[in-house]
Symmetry: C2
Subunit: 343 residues, 2 copies
Amino acid sequence: MTRFVDVRNMVRWTATQGPEKIITGIMEYLENDFKRWESFDKTPRVASHTPFGVIELMPTSDRETYGFKYVNGHPSNPSRGFQTVTAFGVLADVHNGYPTFLTEMTVLTALRTAATSGMVAKKLARPDSTVMAMIGTGSQSEFQAMAFRSALGITTLRVWDTDPAAMEKFVRNMTPLGFDITVASSAQEAVLGADVITTCTADKANATILTAELVKPGVHINAIGGDCPGKTELDAAILELGEVFVEFTEQTRIEGEIQQMPADFTVTEFWQVLDGQGPGRKSADQITIFDSVGFAIEDFAALRYVRDAVVGTDFFEEIDLVANPENPKDLFGLIGALSPVGS
Amino acid sequence: MTRFVDVRNMVRWTATQGPEKIITGIMEYLENDFKRWESFDKTPRVASHTPFGVIELMPTSDRETYGFKYVNGHPSNPSRGFQTVTAFGVLADVHNGYPTFLTEMTVLTALRTAATSGMVAKKLARPDSTVMAMIGTGSQSEFQAMAFRSALGITTLRVWDTDPAAMEKFVRNMTPLGFDITVASSAQEAVLGADVITTCTADKANATILTAELVKPGVHINAIGGDCPGKTELDAAILELGEVFVEFTEQTRIEGEIQQMPADFTVTEFWQVLDGQGPGRKSADQITIFDSVGFAIEDFAALRYVRDAVVGTDFFEEIDLVANPENPKDLFGLIGALSPVGS
């Protein structure tokens, strides 16, 4: 049988544990997996693009466990009452190829994306950061806020979104959780005095939601929204202001902010910072840029965290996904006995 | 909600309908999809190889519906009590990216592989074929027999497998269904007088289970088992005896029997035969070879067939795979309300 965490159980589990505790837990799994980065099978995601959006499969394996995520990105979905991003994920045992774990990943992707941003910011943002600007207050925004409180203790937020209702929603969700929130009237106003700038907008376009003159020395930019060809958020000039950190260079050159730059533009893969192979932040004045697109190993860490965390709880059920005939060579025997002759 | 056909329901449905009726139904969907071959997004499968076996994702899309299959291949599984091949598959709506249908595909892959062989043989085997040799009587063999009875009316089978128990199982399963079966003592003996030769063995090796001198004029070879790099069944000389038909050339050059041949070895994609662009069998004496590796469009056809066929039945259930917050931008609202402050 395959263990299955559906949406109802994921929501119950997250609400019971508290999202910040889960984000912190995923962050630990992420750090462990980024430290053993070179031991993973890595391949850019397999994307199917249409005018409506994209559907992607993101596989990886550490040679013991195989995992993949199905995820879509449809920017016009919210206007039609659907989620921009939905996802589910699977873990399998490499030794026999059987799927062992299936879970919704719409909620879990939000948690792992935030955990990734938090893990990176712990190393790259100034440790004395206290103020974060958030450009874009859609589905991902609250999770980002949680992650930055966990990683850096940030509780002061300056937010901006072109949709006033999305900002109201953000304030409504986060004020009761102890955040001090300023609603700005522009991106320019939101970033005033910010130590960290998080961009998480959804338009599938080469947008410029942040220009170079707005980025002050010492800032850490957490660029989440630009994550597929033709979808960027930052003025290309920003990428020249500091050092750019990526997950997996080969994928980010196609999908990230650096798709705007030449193919030999210098970047650092973040696992090298964790591994001690590359420097992180070099000075208080340096501008650091995390050009995040999301990578399969992050889903792998999140999937394993949930799988391990729900053991012994009632937050999963078992489903019958893999045929298991008594004689493995007799698949037909499962059905043959019941078939009428010549049917 | 996502419709889900688990193993129990797939087996109940197949047993109730009869596997031959389902194979025939899938064959119709396959023919329709092969005829519109050029309208599909096609990409070679994404494979993760380990010493134990392979795990693959096989996506495709017709720009209305997206589908993919997860499938493993672990040749040593049966000796440990597991299936060589297990699989599950998903359909999604391209317009919003939501997964709409999930099903087990261990049984369904066996049905669709057989249906593909049958569809191809209807065009390539001699119409007066009456005898099929089957080399390999593992999990796929009974389904192949069903497909050839449906496609060509073949009821006389000559079988060979290195595992006597597998042959006994085949005879036990198929004799009651009206087949006339001769158990041979070698591959050489099995192919005597056969109009069609089906090879479906599981060894992950460059095996030679059939040599050129055994292949007589007019025979159709249905080569199923060689389907990944390093796994072939036919003597390379056989491929020079007649015309080789493939599903998707780019993938078959990597995975099929023709991996033994130069990169410019001439093949015909089978959809071209259905489409009238290429000839099928040209004469009663010609040797035709279907170098089958399995392609995503076949799973797409099978998935859609099951999805459509179970409408209005109790052979599926609904699962909660996609988070559906009232406000699509308020994913956090699903869980936020229940989280303690500062948790």
